[in-house]
Amino acid sequence: MTNESKSGRERLLHITKREFSQKWKAYAVRAVAFLLAILICGIVSTILTKKSMGRFFYDLFDGAFGTERRLWDLFHNTALLLLVALAVTPAFKMKFWNIGAEGQVLMGALACSACIQYFGKTLSDGALIPVMLLASMAGGVIWAVIPALFKAKWNTNETLFTLMMNYIATCFTAYCIAVWAPLGSGTLTFKLGHLPEVGNQFLLKILVAVALMVFLFVYLRYSKHGYEINVVGESERTAKYVGINVKKVIIRTMILCGILCGIAGFLLVSGTHHALHKTDTVAGRGFTAILVSWLAKFNPLTMGLTAFLVVFIQKGTGQFSTLSGLGASYPDVMTGIFFIMIISCEFFINYKVVFKKRSKKTEAKIEPPAPEAAPSAEEENVERIETLDQTETGGEE
């Protein structure tokens, strides 16, 4: 009777929680996922263009690393993406879901542009650039701190709030551009206020990004502020119990986010584009950065790597798409594949899929005259116990 009830609901697939004892195994899964992502990108591309797979891989690496300029461009773009990712990280660590980095960076860029617009003619570049930097920071901080204040005061939902602030920022920028250049094409270009070059036009920004990455790593890991952010993120009640002023921490952290976003906006206008456009200036980095930050598990150092991989896919497939005439959206599709693969591989890191063999043979072997004998085969038992043990560790989560 028991045999019947058991085989009646036996499943072939069994999903159980797992935890890797060695960390490198988890990284190996991620590496495999990355390689698979590139492979799938290649397959999709060959189907679309009927070019050979080798061609795709050649263009992928050629586009990213082919010439010295491309190499610089790769690192430069990584740096810019990394900056925005760093900016959202402290808030995420605090479980404050700030998805308004796009708007916060744009407001930094706008404030920077406003300085050029109004002070450009009266100030020299040496005086103008510090003013631009400060204004950018202020712009970013204002946009970041408004949702924080509302959250602290009235416990509003920060996700919706920051998202909506993005659209206000975009429209406000469009308005400002229209006012400053009524006959323009919607893009405001600047001949003043260019960031001085160190070595070449890219190096300074890369250095700034690396410096901020190290700073943020130390800040989050070792400083008292970082510790408070961690406690507030993990348990607000405990934070209150040990006397942490939660509101203060929220506002302080969002000010930091705003400052970092402001710096990113400043570098985009003054160092990269020398122009302002309502969407092209930030170009979606505010949203990509969220994924970059998540993939790195909010660790600033890992974020350098994840940002690099994203930009590598973008640049490499960009080259392929240009040569094959696939259009500007093609790199986005490829980046999408990359993200899907990397995010879904987390499932295999957290869970284990156990395939069960059909135990028809073993069931047949059981002799009917022994009613008290074990109904199930030994090996199946062992397997079940394994999976149950995993459930046990999972249950504690």
């Binding site: 970082g226 993990e234 348990s235 405990t238 119990y241 006397g243 008290e372 043990d389």
Partner: protein
Amino acid sequence: MSNTPVIKLKGISKSFGEVKANQNVDLEIMEGEILSILGENGSGKTTLMNMIAGIYYPDEGEIFIKGKKVTIASPKDAFANKIGMIHQHFKLVDVFTAADNVILGEEMPRYSIAKEYRAAKEKYNASQKKAKDFCVFALRTIALPFIKLGKKIAFNHLSGARAKSLQPIADKYGFKIKLTKKIYDMSVSEKQTVEIIKVLYRGVDILILDEPTAVLTPQEIKTLFAVLREMKKDGKSIVIITHKLNEVMEISDRVAVLRKGEHIATVKTSETNEKALADMMVGKKLDLNIDRKDPVDPKVRLEVRNLTVLNSDGLKAIDDVSFDINGGEILGIAGISGNGQKELLEGIAGLQKKESGDIIFHNPKKDKPVTFFHKTLRKIKKMAEEGFFHDPDGKKWDFKGLSNKEITRLVNEEKVLFYEDEIIDLRHRTPREIQELGIKLSFVPEDRLNMGLVGNMSIIDNMALRSYRKGKSVFVNKKRPKNLADKIIDELEVVTPSDMTPVRRLSGGNVQKVLVGREISSSPKVLMAAYPVRGLDINSSYLIYNLLNQQKEKNVAVVYVGEDLDVLLGLCDRILVLCGGKVSGIVDARKVTKEEVGLLMTRHSDNTEVNDD
């Protein structure tokens, strides 16, 4: 109670990695009995019962139900065998009503279109096959999908009606519960009732309760026991997992004692006593007396005057309460839970808004040096003018003719001493300031986390929660917390793989040791320990009592909030009884009897009882 076993366990073993949770356990559960499974924390009680309930699968051994060997691989199998378990942490959907939680997961009766079609066809074949019969058959066939849909949505849409259909079950065993109430509006005891109704609704004959009394008040325990006895009369077998000896004696017919995963013995309750059970449970002779010394020179440490505290709903949780807490003694706070204990302590700790009243702290500073910790130079100068300080020789300081720099040097060299204890009004201080003055609160909540500990952080990082602000560096000093963590692990026998282990991975008792250990280690001046032994076994509880007694001997003012009256009477010097947010009495713990305290606990409870009904 009959003598036929409904469940028989034979040689059950289960291990988790290296840890052997159960070893070769034989156990019988009789029909219509209440069996207690008694054992310390981590003795494998819950694991054993989880195997009967289908949560775990035993490594070795066999389970027989009514003489038939069964495989219980999932809770579904357990239900099929009429076994239901009520876990310590309730598994209810908060936004649903009680009734909806009870019927949740119930399968609708199957409706197979193919089967119905065949039935209709047979009927048609059996008929005279006239045109009229064919029309009936055809119409019925066409209607089948709609009937199926109708059955699917023929769910009773009125929540009141759903509740009504369940009322007989509730009435049968005398549950007093409103089935249309949402879970989030319910107290812990009501939630437990819903869990019990849930398993009864599934037609369970064997009911397992995992530490059902851990979160209940004495009154609620009484109600629960009455219900259990009612179910026993109905022929159901009940298993209670517990480590509270008095409850075992009160409710159970037989007791099975587990120790370190092994089954020690099963005895009839009528043939044993608490002492014998405790010995079996712990394995060594245990002294059930707490070593209580007389307080030495008790002096007022904290004055609470006409304090009124509002709870989170804006109602008066503490109403015009006045009392003193003395240094060097343990003040017990007794009361049925929810009568303002939490608000009182949180009010003192600055965590709850105080409506009115004063809390005056006598900082024991006499002949101790003044520091810049809380005071500015200006404040110290002003206090000196008012004659607060003396020098090491006993002469009065007035700092006349001294420059600021010299005064700073004197203070830093600890040459400026207080004449008298410093008196500080705590009413408008922030929680952090109160903490830094040495008034520590360790509140063990029902889920043990989220009030003082962060589950995902390591033991070391949790130690740092209290001390991380110390020092001027912008970085957190991890060295001191590490030493402290290692010390607590060592002294309080915390079972953990390492000091880097996240706290959430520890068992409940060990989590508590970490929390209480940390508060005590900060050398407090007032230590408020609320439910520090909640859910702890005897050995660990005594460890905590000893720690509190040590603090008392160090002249700390200790406040102990507990549920167990025996412990309150044995541990404390004075007992304050709270009832309905008011003090219904402050008694000498050495002279008072349990009954007297019990009476005080319910003195004003006329109103609350009306509310309960």
